[in-house]
Symmetry: C2
Amino acid sequence: MESYKIVLVGAGRVATQLGKALVTAGYPVLQVYSRTEASAMALANSLAEHSNFPVEGTTSLVDIRKDADLYIVALKDSALQELVPALVQGRSQGLFVHTAGSIPMDIWKGLTPRYGVFYPMQTFSKWRSIDFETVPFFLEADSAADLQCLRTVAEHLGSKVYEVSSEQRKYLHIAAVFACNFANHMYALSAELLAKQGLPFETMLALVDETARKVHELSPVEAQTGPAVRYDQNVIQRHLEMLSDEPLMQELYEKVSQSIHCLGGRKHEEMPD
Amino acid sequence: MESYKIVLVGAGRVATQLGKALVTAGYPVLQVYSRTEASAMALANSLAEHSNFPVEGTTSLVDIRKDADLYIVALKDSALQELVPALVQGRSQGLFVHTAGSIPMDIWKGLTPRYGVFYPMQTFSKWRSIDFETVPFFLEADSAADLQCLRTVAEHLGSKVYEVSSEQRKYLHIAAVFACNFANHMYALSAELLAKQGLPFETMLALVDETARKVHELSPVEAQTGPAVRYDQNVIQRHLEMLSDEPLMQELYEKVSQSIHCLGGRKHEEMPD
């Protein structure tokens, strides 16, 4: 792996977690680009601590190394689109990949010969380390050889690898929005309701954990519980009245209940109520 | 605990899991009532296997023992309301409690002298055993002595105990609907989207687990990630267009995104996109 030189473009959460995993797996991450000096240096220094290779930080696009084998671009969507032309310039021998699930592979097309997508499906925190052995990678590349390259890297991180098209990946991303962002928002609304009653959100944690564990064994539709799946109108009506001073929450309660009832109701389990 | 005789009214998922935990903790559960012979006997026999006491099954309300100390009523809401008068008849020395989170304690008032609520906050499956050490109990009773009784039993199961009013418990139940039922439905919608692309829901499990784990350390609002919290209109608009053949899912996407944006945006983390 020594000859497999990597440049990280970006120093946010994805770049940070991925960079740490790459150096831990023995890959030479030789450079970190970020728009701000502070974040470029912070990540470069942090990676250097775990690496056998020096790691340079830079804020200058033209100073990005020209001799890397793999450029991993982990930027916000808007910055990614904007920087692509400058990134590829004079680096046509390198393989360029982005980590953004919702951006098609074609953003690279016609601008550089070797490109792909290296999308780790996880929610990344600045403070929490991610165990990449549990993180699936969704890969796409313009050539079979480069796809194999990306597969090798992801598998070295211990990750499960899926090859998907840009079209499939768009739906993966929206599926992740539902399973992660929107599920978390349901926790947030729960916390809001509890706070008004002077109750801590920790009272929900056993329930949150069990809800997540169940879908390892049952499909989410089979695991669905609660008044909506049974269409218990008494409970639903009472809950809607209780939410009358929270119009948006009330509307969400009603819509989600309808949606549960539409999707499910075939097989279900029960919730204490 | 030998003298602390318990009757279980109901043989559904809550009664089953609670009954098993009670006999395992050494409590004499002497009788199980259910409307159907098969479920009364199935639970009675299953409990007898783990108990030092015989466990009887009955389908007759009048045959419910008159000498129990504690009657734990774990029935569906509608059945509970209907059966209360017949249950208490001639059993005025016993302590009656129900396990239903959304039903006020007052359903017992004026009908029997000793009553309360014994509400375990968890989503119960028929097949999955529940570790009651992780399950919070929310208790309420008409007298301090009976509240202490219930506290003793719950603590013997290893559970964390909270005393709450009927008013607070109503909100607890609706908070649980959000944190469990609605979060699970977000998984279900995610699975739907994936299935249409020929992708398995297992691709989401690392994300589901990490989303649940994060709220042990951060508040859900702090843990919120994704396009909505950043209000990334490009991504949101693209996602809404992708959902155009799923009007209910599309509407939910829009409403949940609005709600995330309203509630959060103060502190947030990032999701790869």
